[in-house]
Amino acid sequence: MAVGKTIPVFDAIARVNGSIPYAANLKLPGMLVAKVLRSPLPHARIVGLNAAAAESLPGVAAVLTAADFESPDSPALYYGMSLKDQPIVAHEQVRYTGQPVALVAAESAERAEAALAQIEVDYEELPGVYDAVEARQPGAPVLHEAYPDNCFVHAKLRRGDLAAGLAEADDIIEETFTSPLAQHAALEPHVAAAQWQADRLIVWSATQSPYLVRQTLADIFGLPAGHVRVIVPPLGGGYGGKGHIRIEPMVAALARKTAGRPVKLILSRAEEFVTVTKHAATITIKTGFKRDGALTARQVTLYWNAGAYADVSPVLVPAGMVRSIGPYRIPAVWVDSYGVYTNLPPAGAFRGAMSSQAAWAYESHMDTIARQLGMDPLELRLKNLLRSGDLFATGETLHDLHFAECLEAVAEGIGWREARPADSGPVKRGRGLAVMMKSTSPTSRSECRLKIAENAQMTLFTSTVEMGQGAHTALAQIAAEAAGVAVEQVKVTGPDTAVTPFDSTTSASRSSGMMGSAILKAGAVLKEKLIEAGAPLLEYAPEELRAEAGYVFVAAQPDQRLSYAEILQRNGLSALEAAGEFATKGGLDPETGQGLSTPHWHQGAGACEVAVDTDTGKVTVLRYHAASFAGRVVNPQLAHLQNEGNVIFGLGPALLEEMVTDNGQIINTNLSDYQIPSFLDTPLELVSTLVESAAGEFHGIGEMTLPPVAPAIANAVFDAVGVRIRDLPMTPEKVLRALRQAEGE
């Protein structure tokens, strides 16, 4: 059985010999280099723009500005996931430093840069606002006229009687937690190339969502979707930053002016910082609880800094609402989740979307409650954890819950119940834990196709994107099992929207579950077709036949069998194909947040031991145990890599990462001043546990052990030195300041 086995990824050799064909490698005949002229100001009117000198420079093929969108047959200037508020290039106004104002396509990077320098733009500066809470206050600068309070999405959840729940409580605690603006920081930047052939467009893009890109471009250019072809090579990391439309519209619009010559844009690292961010968040959480630890009521208010354009926030802000509560039984829950415009680059989906910021709040808060009660933080959680069959705050019934198992696994791993070591000297050790609950997309669809050739080689056609998670290999394992074929005989093709069928997106940890389910269906259909084709040859009725391990055989007499290859050959068939589709549909009532928020729940936990140097404030994670609910594991080695990778990734937001802004200028737009975790930040002991359900569904595992990292560390810091940090990242300065303040009190 291919599923459940550790096998190396199919392209392992290419990964170690450098030959993976990342988008930046793309070379096409006549290809031009694109560069982007960006706004130097966070909020300004454009009062003049002259690109004539740039256009006439030798080696410049085309210049794109808002003027190219003014005639009746021009493409649409504005696009967006729900609110079409984002211009492909700035039009009359710039709303964040770094916003694209013009693009140049030229024979070389040097000539393109020289042309940018020749484009004259006159700005009239406007006041800007950079904090989501401030932006919603009366008197704040308004970014979009349609939203005078800058709040463009407000998701609400109302369940139970909050006032009664709080009145019934023996005690109430309210805390506010903040998370900063941050970067996905995939080592591979955003890359896209575009080429027009008459009214057909081909785009190569390092994107996680080829069909979303296709539809958006079709809408912008007024084309039938089939006239746009999106091809996706393996990505050098995505983490959600490549999950939605990004640089493709401007590259495609520029390529429209080059008489069919392809145009490629590779963003620099500095440009990455002004392209997409992780929402900064201010989260106020108030909980009522009984003396015995039972939670009676919770109210959460979340302000999400969406940046200058709505982008995917209209979807993420309601998702954030659902993800802000925590995996606990609470009879009365009220949540208000606000998406607010600010003069910063647009925020997008980030690994553990909204759950990282939310778990930072609710899991730190849970420890505050535990300490208030004098209760063990693990016991408080175990007492209140949701269990299968419970109703969630959205009114949906929960199934397949394993929060307690995940938490117990990490607690046991860290030795939670063992005696704490005694510390002497300035370095104090402590332990902390956290557990998190995350929804995936409630509404999405995955389609696939399986094709078996007469040599018994099988091809899986899928638009799931390979971005290092090993998706193609894992899906091939599922396909092998579903069709009864050896995994060595499976080849994966895609994504290419001309060839591979629809998939919503490779994000939200949905692919193992959704595409996996589509593949199971296709495999079942393929087996049926093989049985039907084999029946007359074997001279048995189809109902008496089975298909397994490359053979169709008589159930009652297994030696009476034919190989798949033989069945095809003797039927004169060059191939047999089967399609599979899996879709889910959900949604929440806009006033109450009641409904179906997810097909299944993502569950993860972490426990750590840290050392806090009270002289320097430095926090070192000594040991970390992570656990996630993995459903039916497809490839154990790849699953563990996801768990471990998430923990390493999570050390960044917890301890290191913050985009620093000064009046709308991001001042640390490089990987020296914006630090991501290195080998030296890795805990000496990092252990991953997969809580499995062999008979269960395939479950995504791309994010689960990430959100618990920051609160587990903060809880360990509290355990070590008795200070509560409520603002990320937990830098040495913040810890020292908190220690000094505590001493002073």
Binding site: P8, V9, A12, I13, A14, R15, V16, N17, G18, S19, I20, Y22, A24, N25, P58, E110, R111, A114, A185, A186, L187, E188, P189, P234, L235, G236, G237, Y239, S268, R269, A270, M467, G468, Q469, G470, Q637, L638, L641, E644, G645, N646, V647, I648, F649, N670, L671, S672, I676, P677, S678, F679, L680, T682, L686
Partner: protein, 163 residues
């Protein structure tokens, strides 16, 4: 070197020795070694991740030392022996360090992997049995956003144990 022509840097004739082969090239004087390796020689194992020598994705070996090729002008590399990841494989197959990375699944998206492999090769040439902290310190200049450090460490350790 000639003066600027047409507003752009003049072109230089130079010779680079890469993976045991000599390449005579004519390149604009301001071009980095990384750019020339990728665009002129088609050696795409070295990649740009940060452009400021912090991430290690552009690592190549210059006279057996790992360097950030994004910070070196192509012209500065003349006369040195350059090894890229493409130069590790032989007719007999993958370099043992490359095989160790596969055996330990020491990568995910693999954008950083050639850089790590070259750094590991350089380390193991200097010290055949580096201790754990030496490995971590040496590899601290190669960043992996996917977070494969655990398996990368195992790859270097198991390789070491095989020697």
């Amino acid at each position: 070197m000639k003066d600027k022509v047409d507003g752009f840097m003049a072109e230089l004739s130079l010779t680079l020795q890469v993976n045991g082969q000599i390449y005579p090239l004519t390149v604009s004087a301001e071009r980095t070694l990384l750019d020339v390796l990728r665009e002129d020689l088609g050696l795409v194992g070295a990649r740009e991740g940060c452009g400021v020598g912090m991430c290690g994705a552009c690592t190549v070996l210059l006279n057996d030392q790992p360097i950030s090729s994004c910070l070196m002008l192509a012209a500065q590399a003349e006369g040195a022996t350059i090894t890229t990841v493409e130069g590790l494989e032989t007719a007999d197959g993958l370099h043992p360090v490359q095989q160790a990375f596969i055996d330990q699944a020491a990568f995910q998206c693999a954008y950083c992997t050639p850089g790590f492999i070259l750094s590991a090769v350089a380390l193991l040439k200097q010290q055949s049995q580096p201790d754990d902290q030496v490995i971590r310190d040496y590899l601290a200049g190669n960043l992996c956003r996917c977070g494969s450090y655990g398996n990368i460490f195992k790859a270097v350790k198991t390789f070491e144990e095989l020697l």
